[in-house]
Amino acid sequence: MTAREAVLERARRALGDRPEVPAAVSVAPAPVDDPVGLFCERVSDYRATVHRCSEDEIAARVRELGAGRLAVPGDLPESWRPEGVVVDDALSARALDEVDGTLTACELAIAETGTIVLRSGGAAQGRRALTLVPDLHVCVVAERQVLSSVPEAIAALEEAARDGDPLTLVSGPSATSDIELSRVEGVHGPRTLHVIVSG
């Protein structure tokens, strides 16, 4: 008997008493009045920096950060790019480690948790390593991309999940509380996160 057959057989036998499958419990989250406002507040709670501007001011805002050399996905809108960006055409991890930061869009954002969702293969979001290895991430969130709650976001991401697109939920910069529970921002992911909310 293979391990596969053995495990499945044991599981079937364990359920010999036919436990009932409970009915689903539906939970509807409370509506949010001002999702964009709440999103900005919650992202700031994580000690990420929030900037608000119109879409044609994005490049100027990025320039003001003085972030140095930024890697960007090939399909990032031209109008967002400051001078001297490096396009990620399958850069090695080492090359990504040497740029100063990265600039991307996102798939959607979640107000109640201050979360940005990145979809590999989604518009202007690049692959996962691009938003992971550089030490600074500037992420542009359009106001219309901000959803209220986790359930709304999971529903909106169902198609991406069915397509098998890797997804990353980002809530603030990387952090640890492993030493005496004192919070340190910045471990392995980008230590600095800027969120530009455009609308």
Partner: protein
């Protein structure tokens, strides 16, 4: 078999530094959790939804595992099945050998602690680098984790500084947590950039879409699941969820219950492999290792709902004083007290079901509504049944005979009163022989001068 919880706890109780660290840690996380849980108006419904989904997943386990296998394969992943830890470890080692890899980077995973994967890999000449900060501290120190969420909570900053000076060659290092974290980042970044193989556990595996998920804070999970060319994920079979939509419940329940955050910094979700992004080879190892035994027990199977949040540890008065090591299992605290003995088929960890005052605080915070006290009492019964006729059982039967017969009972009472002499009183604080366990943690009440029966006769 180990000496058990009472002996290990006694040692831990003597460590005042440990108790201070634990008290601070559990209090802090407890308060944070209460704050963010209070924000969610429908928290109780969320818990019920979590319980219902997990119970459904367990009731449909065989078909869901087959569905998950099919979805992962359709997305370009390979699936392995493991009856026990040794088979899971062998599957991981085989992938490493195929790729000629002698070092792997690991995301914190209690499941691979359970299978003792690192030791098994070392025996094959393969190094395993723990990349979670606390797990790194524990590994460098040849120590073991003491908390599910913050495994190095028993260590303070000065101890960690000394360890990093010794093991990472960071000679000029302060004990500031930010400086200590920076040293770990430096050390591990080299490992991440060079690593060819990553190993992870899984928080969830979605049968419908083949999505596997790792929930974390530091970014080491993203590094291990993104940068290497091959990734192996070891997942306990009870982590399967039926549908993608089920994640909406658990991505609310888990971070708030665990770290006390609205959302943890990073959640990675992937399905098989994706050309041009991340590992080009993905293996999912589905591990049983006693889980189907737990599933067979109608009372105990609710333990398999556990999503490893550790909320029950932080509210437990026993954990707060004894600490994680006293449980002598990779699963400490109240959940460990029910999970560890069941996974070991009660052949080990027999003292753990008794490591509780049954106060019920754990059941109140559990995000998937595991009735831990109910399972504890159930397991206590099992342990006693198994013990059969040891000396304590014989003594108890003798006592039952005394209590059941009036003459023998009155004779025993007068004997006990005779023992009230100053000498007898000292002795009576502790019971002798096979029933000594009854007085190791409680005082024997003093025998009164007069029994109720005598008083009744005199005053009637």
């Amino acid at each position: 078999m180990t000496a058990g919880f009472p002996v290990a706890a006694k040692k831990a109780l003597a460590d005042t530094q440990l108790r201070r660290n634990l008290g601070h840690a559990t209090r802090t996380i407890r308060d944070k959790r209460a704050g963010v849980v209070g924000e969610v108006a429908d928290w109780e419904q969320l818990r019920e939804a979590g319980q219902a989904i997990k119970d459904e997943a367990l009731a449909r386990l065989p078909e869901l595992l087959e569905q998950l296998e099919g979805s992962v394969q359709a997305a370009g992943g390979q699936v392995h099945w493991a009856r026990d830890g040794a088979e899971a470890n062998a599957a991981v080692a085989a992938v490493a050998k195929q790729h000629g890899v002698d070092e792997v980077v690991k995301v914190k995973s209690i499941t691979t602690d359970e299978t003792k994967l690192n030791d098994a890999l070392a025996a094959e000449g393969i190094g395993a680098v723990e990349t979670d900060l606390a797990e790194l501290i524990v590994q460098l120190d040849n120590d073991s984790p003491s908390h599910i969420l913050v495994p190095a909570i028993h260590r303070n900053r000065a101890e960690i500084r000394d360890l990093f000076r010794r093991k990472l060659g960071a000679t000029d290092l302060s004990d500031d947590p930010a400086a200590l974290t920076a040293v770990a980042r430096e050390h591990l970044r080299r490992k991440f950039l060079e690593a060819r193989m990553g190993v992870s556990g899984a928080n969830f595996g979605v049968a419908e879409t083949g999505t596997v998920s790792v929930v974390e804070s530091e970014g080491n999970g993203r590094m291990c699941t993104t940068l290497p060319e091959v990734l192996v994920t070891v997942m306990g079979i009870e982590k399967v969820l039926p549908r993608w939509r089920d994640l909406e419940v658990f991505l609310q329940l888990l971070p708030r219950s665990s770290t006390g955050e609205r959302m943890n910094p990073y959640t990675s979700l992937w399905s098989g492999v994706r050309a041009g992004d991340g590992p080009q080879e993905f293996h999912l190892v589905l591990l049983d290792n006693g889980r189907t035994d737990v599933l067979a027990d109608a009372v105990g199977r609710q333990s398999l709902r556990c999503i490893r949040c550790s909320a029950c540890l932080n509210v437990c008065p026993v954990y707060a004083r004894a600490g994680g090591h006293a449980y002598e299992s990779v699963y400490p605290g109240p959940i460990g007290a029910i999970l560890a003995p069941q996974l070991a088929r009660l052949e080990d960890s027999q003292t753990l079901p008794f490591a509780s005052s049954l106060c019920g605080a754990c059941a109140d915070v559990c995000p998937v509504k595991i009735d831990i006290p109910e399972v504890l009492v159930h397991l206590r019964g099992e342990v006693v049944d198994r013990k059969g006729t040891d000396a304590e059982a014989v003594a108890m039967r003798a006592l039952a005979g005394v209590f059941g017969d009036r003459k023998r009972y009155e004779r025993a009472q007068s004997l006990a009163r005779a023992g009230r002499s100053p000498l007898g009183r000292g002795l009576a604080k502790r019971l002798p022989g096979p029933i000594a366990a009854w007085t190791s943690s409680r005082e024997l009440p003093e025998v009164p001068e007069q029994t109720f029966r005598q008083w009744w006769k005199e005053t009637r």
